[in-house]
């Protein structure tokens, strides 16, 4: 039993829904109680889809339990086939139906429907949503993909995009453009946009582009083994990764690398003098493994940030994330407990968080700006405009969206110089973000964690002295500290206290503050 308030991932059957909803001509019959139909709103509200997910729920009730839930499943399955006439069906159980062990696969098979019916195993009590997408896609590919002749021209499949993905819609367009620049066509995009017939001819592609390992790595491995299709390891998020990706495509396809970087603006935007203030900004990176790894590289090598924390919530990616973290001289944070993430962020006191919607809320609480880099998604993560993460345009989008939450360069200096100006009080955030944004001096917010794991509630107020050994601040030093801009004040306080502690000082005066500043100056 594990106490949970907010979760990064839903149950595995939601992953199955993301695959089914992304595809066309596929229908999912889910053995589940009525309340599980809430999942439809993820697609119709968050993603603003204009049609219902292709999912039928059996919605069995307590009174059915003693009687005949199996028959209910059979009739739901038959009705779904008759009404929707899908080209293929997938069947599975949600957490409750898993307990009553009706065997949806066997029941569906006994109906003798004239289309392929693929049974899913979705262990709800041990696995989660990303497992569900990966597993569902694997089972579909295994059931439907057959060895077929390769296309004459060099083509690739784009695999991994699903419904409710973080910018998948636009990433597909961007990667398609990158490949076409190399002279590589697209054989199929799957699961998103694919029909069961498209899956049957996945084998016609010369190789696979694994866009999102979270959702298609198992299928990529299977196709490599069974269909002889190599797959790309580099995920083209960021300038360097996109260049590496094109090199990899060139190697796999035996083609010279060709790329049109004329629309790529990140390198110059990042080099231009206005961006000097970005240098060494401390960032904390957390998300799904793929996006976190990509963000860490961009942060350090393309923005000039200092990565002070890196982690992911999906254990499946733990190894890869740990390796990258080690290269940054960090220990990776692998957890799906947002309270642990919050505590780690508070301890690292970054100037910017690159995270998910969960970290955006954590940032709000701690008064740290946040840019979203990964699922889990929110309605805001489905912008009307074109906003990929991959490829050249993805890099441009990332530059803008990461810089946006920060205080702009000259503004930062003005804030420092005119600290006493009433409009520049600590609660004033970046001027372009309006009245809603605030620094740590803004709304105090509840400081105690509601519930959490056994670990003590994380200290929400980052600057609060934690240990009793901390030296006391003399009033003059406190006043001086207040003149330091709020977005670096927590760091200044911590550094000064550490400096004082190391020297065994009982009190912190103005001089201590400046000695510490000199000591820690980079």
């Amino acid at each position: 039993m594990k106490l949970t308030v907010w979760t990064y991932e839903g149950p595995p059957h939601v992953g199955a829904m993301r695959v089914a909803t992304g595809m066309h001509g596929l229908h999912l019959v889910l053995h589940a109680p009525q309340g599980d139909t809430y999942a439809d709103l993820l697609f119709t509200m968050i993603e603003r889809r204009g049609s219902r997910p292709p999912v039928t729920y059996t919605t069995f009730q307590a009174r059915d339990l003693g009687a005949d839930t199996a028959n209910l499943f059979r009739s739901a399955c038959r009705d779904a086939w008759e009404r929707f006439r899908p080209a293929a069906m997938i069947v599975g159980a949600s957490c409750t139906a898993e307990l009553i062990q009706d065997d949806p696969g066997g029941l569906a098979e006994s109906l003798g429907l004239p289309v392929p019916v693929v049974a899913l195993e979705l262990p709800s009590y041990s696995r989660k949503e990303n497992f569900g997408t990966d597993e569902t896609f694997l089972r579909l590919v295994r059931a439907l993909a057959r060895p077929v002749a390769r296309t004459q021209a060099v083509t690739a499949n784009l695999i991994g995009p699903v419904a409710l993905g973080f910018r998948h819609r636009d990433d597909v367009a961007e990667v398609t453009r990158l490949l076409s620049g190399m002279g590589v066509g697209v054989n199929a995009v799957a699961p998103m946009g694919a029909t069961p017939a498209d899956l049957a001819r996945l084998g016609a592609a010369h190789f696979n582009v694994l866009m999102y390992p979270e959702h298609a790595e198992a299928a990529a491995r299977w196709m490599e083994r069974e269909l002889g299709q190599p797959y790309t390891r580099v995920v083209p998020v960021g300038v360097g990764a996109t260049r590496d990706f094109l090199q990899e495509v060139g190697r796999i396809a035996g083609l010279p690398v060709r790329a049109d970087e004329s629309c790529l603006r990140l390198p110059w935007w990042s080099r231009s003098v206005d961006s000097t203030y970005l240098t060494g900004k401390r960032v904390f990176v957390f998300g799904d493994g793929t996006h976190a790894i990509a963000a860490a590289r961009i942060a350090r090598d393309e923005m000039g940030f200092d990565v002070v924390g890196l982690g992911c919530y999906n254990r499946e990616m733990a190894r890869a994330v740990r390796a990258v973290a080690a290269a940054h001289g960090l220990e990776a944070l692998v957890t799906d407990d947002y309270l642990e993430v919050e505590a780690a962020i508070a301890a690292a006191a970054p100037e910017l968080i690159l995270g998910t919607q969960m970290e955006r809320h954590i940032g709000k609480r701690l008064g740290i700006p946040c840019a979203v880099i990964s699922a889990p998604v929110h309605v805001q993560d489905f912008p009307a405009r074109y906003a990929p993460q991959m490829g050249w345009e993805g890099a441009n989008v990332i530059f803008d969206s990461w810089v946006h939450p920060l205080v702009m360069g000259l503004e930062e200096h003005l804030l420092t110089m005119f600290r006493e100006d009433f409009e520049f009080h600590d609660g004033a955030g970046p001027s372009h973000l309006g009245a809603g944004s605030h620094g740590p001096g803004g709304p105090p917010g509840p400081l105690a964690a509601a519930v959490g794991p056994a670990s003590p509630a994380p200290a929400r107020a980052a600057p609060a002295p934690v240990s009793s050994a901390v030296a006391a601040w003399l009033p003059a030093a406190e006043d001086e500290l207040r003149k330091i801009p709020f977005f670096v004040r927590a760091k200044a306080r911590r550094n000064t206290e550490r400096f004082a502690a190391e020297r065994g000082l009982a009190a912190i005066g103005v001089d201590t503050l400046y000695e510490a500043k000199a000591h820690y100056a980079r």
Partner: protein, 439 residues
């Protein structure tokens, strides 16, 4: 606008045969009530014993993640808990112990059952009794089920309130209990009206804090503020209380009838009743008239959601000039809804339960001007050109009593007004379907 007048000698829809179909039900489970109950009861904590799905439901139904101190959590069952029940109980005791140690402000703890906890027959009733002994008197531990195999959406609140009834203190004299969680602002308005009528003492169920629990006894009269509280009403009746049946307090007419029933039970004079209600009634009528313009003469179709459908249909047809095509409700409690059914002019299909695909077919055939439905159906209906109102908003926003009557009409009118405002966008330069909706 319309003058409220009871249907002459008619029984409205009271005897209308009910369409019952059995198929996929597109509704929330009772856990959803936690979203508003945990805000209403400030010293209560809701611990769902369930699965990752239950946790995800609460997170998704909340729409936004309310990061500020949520007083709910899910104890997610894991494989090892399924292996042996003894373990699950020990784990539960441990988690509750930790939780209460960390949250000394909690006075009421609800162990909320879910489908998985029921299917594995985890006895949360007994667990609650055991934990109650451990943590009394500081914390009262109670149990109810919000499982989707037993409860639909608002039935969770019913189960929660019913669970509190046996623990209410006993009352000797005459009193009124108003049952149903209302937004604080609405509750305060109601209290002012009742005080004006000289009705009292007034107890509220649920009370904002544990020490405000209303006493109940043979002299107690119960008025339901929400129609989905059948179990709660039965539990109060078992404590000797008497039910007041009346139309629900939506709109000017419903509010007046609801207050009149209470006034009757407490012997309030007609003069006093008029003196207290005249001004707010007039205000409510003006507000409804101002907001309901786009609704007049339009048709409305209710998908089952909260059990508020019948009273709302009554309000929309009698005070806003709409015509109901179908009034679907997850469960039709004829006793409680009788007074509203009587005021609803015959005509609409009254349906209970759901086969969502068949019901969608009926809605498509009827092409109502406004469809009231859940979040899973709204955008797909809009993409088919049918204006919708999310039903869930009716449970989350202040809509009861006189001073919300105009807002209530406005909630329904807004989608139609918006449709009018955006009419120029339809079709695009080449004509055709609305642009942008992902398939």
């Amino acid at each position: 606008m319309t003058d409220p007048r009871p249907l002459a000698a008619g029984r409205g829809c009271r005897d209308t045969p009910v369409l019952k179909q059995r198929g996929q039900r597109e509704v929330f489970c009772g856990l959803t009530g936690i979203i508003w109950l945990h805000r209403k009861m400030q010293d209560a904590f809701f611990l769902v014993v369930g699965s990752r799905t239950c946790a995800h439901l609460l997170q998704s139904a909340a729409g936004v993640m309310i990061f500020a101190e949520p007083r709910f959590a899910t104890a997610v069952l894991e494989e090892k808990d399924l292996a042996g029940l003894a373990d699950a109980n020990a784990e539960l005791d441990r988690e509750v112990g930790r939780l209460l140690a960390r949250r000394p402000d909690i006075r009421r703890l609800f162990l909320v059952g879910s489908c998985p906890s029921e299917v594995i027959k985890l006895d949360l009733q007994r667990a609650a009794e055991r934990l109650n002994r451990q943590h009394a008197p500081h914390v009262a531990v109670l149990n109810w089920s919000g499982s989707g195999i037993e409860t639909t959406f608002t039935e969770g609140e019913d189960a929660c309130l019913a669970a509190m009834v046996p623990g209410l203190p006993s009352a000797s004299g005459r009193s009124l209990i108003v049952a149903g969680a209302l937004p604080d602002v609405v509750e305060d308005q109601m209290q002012r009206l009742l005080a004006g009528l000289g009705v009292g003492p007034v107890g509220l169920l649920p009370a904002r804090r544990a020490d405000g629990a209303p006493p109940v006894g043979p002299g107690t009269v119960v008025a339901l503020a929400q129609p989905f509280l059948g179990e709660t009403l039965a539990a109060l009746e078992r404590r000797g209380a008497r039910a007041l049946l009346a139309p629900f307090p939506f709109g000017e007419e419903g509010t007046t009838a609801w207050l009149a029933a209470i006034a009757g039970a407490f012997g309030v004079s007609a003069e006093r009743f008029d003196a207290v209600t005249a001004a707010p009634r007039a205000r409510a009528r003006r507000a409804v008239a101002a907001a309901a313009g786009p609704l007049a003469g339009r048709t409305v179709f209710f998908f089952p959601d909260s059990q508020l459908e019948v009273p709302l249909a009554r309000f929309l047809t009698r005070e806003c000039g709409m015509r109901a095509v179908e009034v679907g409700t997850p469960y039709l409690h004829r006793g409680i809804l009788g007074p509203d059914l009587e005021l609803l002019a015959p005509g609409p299909v009254i349906s209970e339960g759901q086969d969502v695909d068949l019901q969608l077919d009926r809605a498509r055939a009827a092409r109502p001007d406004l469809t009231v439905c859940g979040l899973g159906l709204a955008n797909p209906m809009e993409a088919e050109g049918l204006a919708t109102k999310w039903a869930i908003e009716l449970v989350f926003t202040p809509v009861h009593f006189y001073d919300q009557a105009g807002d209530l009409a406005g909630l329904f009118a807004r989608p139609l007004r918006r449709g009018g405002l955006l009419g120029g966008l339809a079709g695009g330069v080449m004509g055709g379907a609305p642009a942008g909706a992902a398939p």
